[in-house]
């Protein structure tokens, strides 16, 4: 049978975050099945199409790709290879041989916001995004909604690292932004910035404040100093796709939300001391309400605006 393939986005396989979660999913599949897969890291925007085509040419199937940036290229390439199945994560692409996966990032971020709102003593929390794109604004928006649900008076400082893909990979700047937010009073900072977030978490740990990781469980990076991580089960999505193999369902869009355990916040030994029972309960309540539909977290993309700041 054909090998599956995985293409990572620009942040690179080991961004400790989004791409690394995808990698973890693939590795889990490999460990379980003993299979092999092809993988490819993007170096630049312009390589996307070549990567897709080359993998399709070599017979890889299915081809999983992480990142919204593949959407346009996939639209173009997929019809040329009707026998190959494509799985895209973080974007919806129509196509008979394409499976789309969307994550309810705003929901996971909301939960992280709830924890931040409860953990802050200064009534100021921070958000540091990577590249300034709607995807990240959605993270910010969900986070702010969560924070304000605890106390509308809490101030949320927001910074984006940049506007180029380099913004996913600039820990120095991430660190400086974190220090700047700390100086403005923030004592919990949520980093949704790929590799840049590593710098944020590091600076927060250095400065003795709390941070919140993203995508993968980053609690272990600075045990006792990372409040939680807004995880996104990219690993599951990849794992599922690999497992289904050439039979992976296409022509549909999977929504990974709280109800489907697609997003959530990480609780483990590393952050146990930081999470009070009260906080744990609040998070659980919110989770349940969102899952049941009782609580609606606004998605930034629906109106291209966030209801709260």
């Amino acid at each position: 049978a054909a090998d599956p393939a995985l293409i990572y986005d620009l942040g690179g396989k080991f961004d400790k975050s989004f791409n690394e979660a995808a990698y973890a999913g693939a590795e889990k599949w490999k460990a379980e099945t003993g299979g092999t897969y092809k993988e490819l890291e993007m170096q630049s925007e312009a390589q996307r199409e070549q990567a897709l085509r080359r993998l399709a040419e070599t017979g890889a199937n299915p081809i999983v790709m992480t990142g919204f940036a593949f959407a346009e290229v996939l639209k173009k390439v997929a019809p040329d290879y009707p026998d190959t199945r494509f799985v895209i994560i973080d974007s919806a692409v129509e196509g008979a041989n394409v499976q789309s996966n969307l994550f309810a990032d705003e929901q996971g971020s909301y939960l992280a916001g709830v924890m931040a709102g409860m953990a802050t003593k200064t009534k100021t929390v921070g958000f540091i995004g990577g590249m300034d794109v709607p995807l990240i604004r959605n993270f910010a928006c969900g986070y702010v909604q969560g924070v304000k649900s605890v106390d509308p008076a809490i101030k949320v400082l927001q910074n984006m690292t940049g506007t180029t893909p380099a913004a996913w990979n600039d820990p120095v700047k991430g660190g400086e932004l974190a220090k700047a937010q700390k100086a403005q009073g923030a004592d919990v900072i949520y980093a949704a910035a790929g590799g840049t977030g590593i710098g944020v978490l590091q600076a927060a740990a250095d400065e003795g404040i709390l941070s919140i990781g993203v995508d993968s469980n980053q609690n272990h990076l600075h045990p006792g100093k990372v409040l939680t991580s807004a995880i996104k089960r990219v690993d599951t999505a990849v794992y599922d796709a690999f497992k289904a193999g050439t039979e992976v369902e296409v022509g549909k869009t999977n929504i990974w939300d709280v109800a489907h355990d697609g997003v959530g916040v990480a609780m483990d030994d590393n952050n146990k001391p930081l999470v009070s029972d009260e906080m744990a309960k609040a998070v659980e309540d919110a989770r349940a309400k969102i899952a049941s539909g009782e609580l609606k977290v606004v998605n930034y993309n629906t109106g291209n605006a966030c209801p709260v700041q």
Binding site: E41, T163, A183
Partner: protein
């Protein structure tokens, strides 16, 4: 903007200035000797990588620093070989060195650590420790000056203080010592040095070596001071900015401090205020991030001051054609 914000921005500016200042002084030595160096970026990058790699492997920031200096010196040696020994084109050599560092760091990093070019995070002793200046806590209460001392000046890592100390040291070396006299002379008219019985080649090699050491320190600070580990392309154009600062500074040490501080300040302000809202218009973040480059061009255009590079700069010294 309140005082605390000002302090925070100054504090951040000082940190962000440090790699620029070190690289700028590095470039100063090389260019004052007549060797143009647009490879500062590459030397810093490979040094950052070496500091990250050695720091991660040994857990010692000092070994990391040593590795950084050695790696940077190795690239400096290539530059010296092309520019001094083989009288090649110094600009091209610089371009090649930047490419080399950009490729080698990822190639080696990936093959050693398998982290996509990143080095493992540096912890504890593998990073530069912050230094609290004497009396910082005691003076904190003194109005205005106290916080300035305690928050802005105190609490940085060693390279920051080394960089600051290097400014007067460089000035002294350049204008008060035999070495400095000869260095200035060899950059302006190597034949004068040669006919005075001093080896042009040795002087230039010495200058290139100093450049290597300083770039090494700059890179080490990036990886083990400003952040905790190496990330690919982490110099992010700082070598070019340092070069611009050097031109801005007219190849003089004190002005180098001023120029790099200005660039550090700009970066700090851009971090703090990614978009500046001026009422009717909002200055976008892209503009803020491009500001150092725009400013450099304006400076170069001579609107702020005409730069006069060392006269023999960029030209190989050829005695017999």
């Amino acid at each position: 903007m309140d005082y605390a914000t000002v302090l925070q921005i100054l504090d951040s500016a000082l940190r962000l200035m440090t790699p620029l200042l070190l690289a700028c002084l590095a470039g100063l030595f090389s260019e004052r000797s007549g060797i143009f160096d647009i490879g500062l970026e590459g030397k810093m990058l490979i040094a950052a990588f070496a500091a990250g790699a050695a720091g991660a492997l040994t857990g010692s920031v000092w070994l990391g620093l040593g590795a950084a200096v050695l790696a940077s010196l190795a690239l400096a040696a290539i530059h010296g070989m092309t520019a001094i020994t083989f009288r090649g084109n110094q600009l091209i050599s610089g371009v090649a060195i930047n490419f080399l560092a950009s490729g080698l760091t990822v190639l080696l990093g990936q093959s050693w650590f398998g982290l996509g070019g990143r080095t493992p995070a540096l912890e504890g002793g593998a990073r530069f420790a912050t230094i609290t200046l004497p009396g910082a806590e005691a003076l904190r209460g003194v109005p205005v000056v106290g916080p300035l001392y305690a928050e802005v000046l105190s609490g940085h890592t060693l390279p920051v203080y080394v960089a600051l100390a290097l400014v007067p040291a460089t000035w002294w070396l350049l204008y008060r010592t035999r070495f400095g006299l000869r260095l200035r002379a060899v950059g302006d008219n190597p034949a004068s040095v040669d006919t005075a019985g001093v080896s042009v080649v040795r002087l230039r090699w010495a200058a290139v070596a100093i450049t290597g050491v300083l770039c090494g320190l700059a890179g080490a600070y990036l990886a083990a001071g400003l952040s905790a580990g190496f990330v690919k392309e982490m110099t992010a154009g700082r070598g070019y900015i340092a070069l611009a600062a050097l031109i801005f500074a007219n190849w003089m040490p004190w002005r180098a401090l001023g120029a790099t501080f200005l660039f550090g300040l700009m970066e700090a302000v851009a971090n703090r205020y990614p978009e500046i809202d001026l009422g009717p218009v909002t200055i976008p973040s892209m503009f803020m991030s491009a500001l150092p480059y725009i400013l450099t061009v304006i400076i170069l255009a001579g609107f702020i001051g005409r730069a006069t590079p060392p006269r023999a700069g960029g030209e190989p010294y050829v005695k017999e054609r």
